[in-house]
Amino acid sequence: MIEIKNLHKKFGKLIVLDGLDLTINPEGSEGGIFAILGPNGSGKTTLIKCLLGMVIPNKGEISIDGTSVLKKWEYRNNLNYLPQIANFPPNLTVIELLKMVKNLRPKASNEQELIDLFSLYPFLKKKLGNLSGGTKQKVNLVLTFMFDSELIILDEPTTGLDPIALIHLKELIQQEKAKGKTILITTHIMSFVDEMADEIVFLLDGKIYFKGSVAQLKEQTNQSNLEHAIANLMTKQHA
């Protein structure tokens, strides 16, 4: 369970998060896929980074399973994060990177399966600097999914993936969900959200503007298409 209370963050004069309250998976409920949506600059990445401890909030409280996580680091052992841009040290090979991350996390991992799944065998001994964007993203996915953690955070996971890899990614996410995990995803691809998300968290001006299922959103905005429903949410606010 993740509980965020009254979270404030500003960068200089720019207020990004403005008293945000959010509870994901209240006590008793089983995992699920949560899509964090919002226009550019609405604070999606900042919210995620606060959760990860990469951005330090000005005010507020974040707790996972009842314990505060601010200024701590041990809790990250039970959390997998896929960063937006996969930019690895160019001089390391794929296999070395995998070994390194495994070395940093003393935890069982199933990278072999994932390497098979994304057909990364031919690239294992290549330097990361020589890989294409899509292949790097696959490596990124392997790094994220190879550990068994309760919470999985994916920032724009679909970037650069080919259709086959995308199908595999969707399967992976569904498998993890079936294991009762909580998965947070940010994306701008609405069809992906429509297909995958159990619940939508819509951020606007540093607050939660909407939280509910896809069906609820469609109903509330009187739209049958998710893309239009989201667009409707954005324009309504600004009108």
Binding site: G53, M54, R76, P89, L92, L104
Partner: protein, 260 residues
């Protein structure tokens, strides 16, 4: 931290620049030895080069490594590791790999030339020690700058500026103040002013060990009196250590509030 250190060294040892730097020192060592044909003279020439070059390379390498590995650092930040350990590991990785290039690059030609049979061994060791200190100091300064500056170009600018200031401008200001106030006793002042610049401090330390302080006149005598003693040498190394520790403490402080 050791894991991060291991991998940053690994990463750096594979980068072309470490080799370029190593080969540069190797070539420099050989050329100086065979041109001078005298180890003592080679040490003096080397001093002049090391004292300006190691800080420059240290700052540039430090800033460059920080900005280049930014996204990877973010990946590490999401792992269960303490923040300060990531950056200390990287810092030590850069400093050690630069020091390794320096020690091996200069050590090999001097060893081949018969360092152990020569009296210059102490001067040479001091030179290497001071050069290593300068590496650690300037990489720490560079990391401070890079952590405080989001903009890469600005970061590079400030890094070069701080090097320029300590290597060139500081001496200029020092000279001007000596000229302006030359009616007053300045020995204490110059002693203290030297302490505030790691480059000057290193230069003086080596010069005095090389026994050419007679060239420095009265102030030289004062300096010799101070640095020549065990207490003076101890104090100057202490100051060099402070030049490493203080920037590192600032890095730690900065990290507590920094957003990535």
């Amino acid at each position: 931290m050791l894991k991060i250190l291991k991998y940053s060294i690994y990463d750096l040892l594979r980068s072309r620049w470490s080799y370029v730097y190593f080969i540069f020192y190797l070539a420099l060592g050989f050329v100086l030895l065979f041109l001078n044909n005298d180890m003592n003279k080679a040490v003096i020439t080397l001093m002049n080069i090391i004292i300006v070059l190691t800080p420059l390379i240290g700052t540039i390498f430090g800033v460059m490594y920080y900005y280049n590995s930014k996204e990877f650092t973010e990946l590490l930040l999401a792992q269960p590791i303490k923040r300060s350990k990531i950056f200390m590991g990287q810092y030590l990785g850069i400093s050690l790999s630069l020091t390794l290039s320096l020690v091996l690059g200069l050590g090999i030609p001097f060893l081949l030339y018969g360092l152990f049979r020569s009296a210059a061994i102490f001067d040479f060791s001091l030179l290497i020690l001071v050069g290593s200190f300068l590496n650690f100091i300037f990489v720490a300064l560079a990391y401070n700058i890079a952590l405080s500056t989001e903009n890469k170009i600005k970061g590079f600018g400030y890094a070069i500026l701080i090097w320029l200031f300590l290597a060139v401008i500081y001496d200029g200001l020092f000279m001007i103040s000596l000229m302006t106030f030359n009616e007053y006793p300045l020995d204490k002042f110059s002693l203290v002013a030297t302490m505030f610049n790691p480059i000057d401090l290193s230069r003086i330390l080596i010069l005095l060990k090389l026994d050419i302080s007679a060239l420095l006149g009265y102030t030289g005598a004062v300096f010799k009196d101070f640095f020549g003693t065990t207490k003076g040498a101890f104090l100057s190394f202490l100051v060099l250590c402070l030049w490493v520790i203080l920037p590192l403490l600032r890095i730690k402080m900065k990290l507590r509030k920094k957003d990535f």
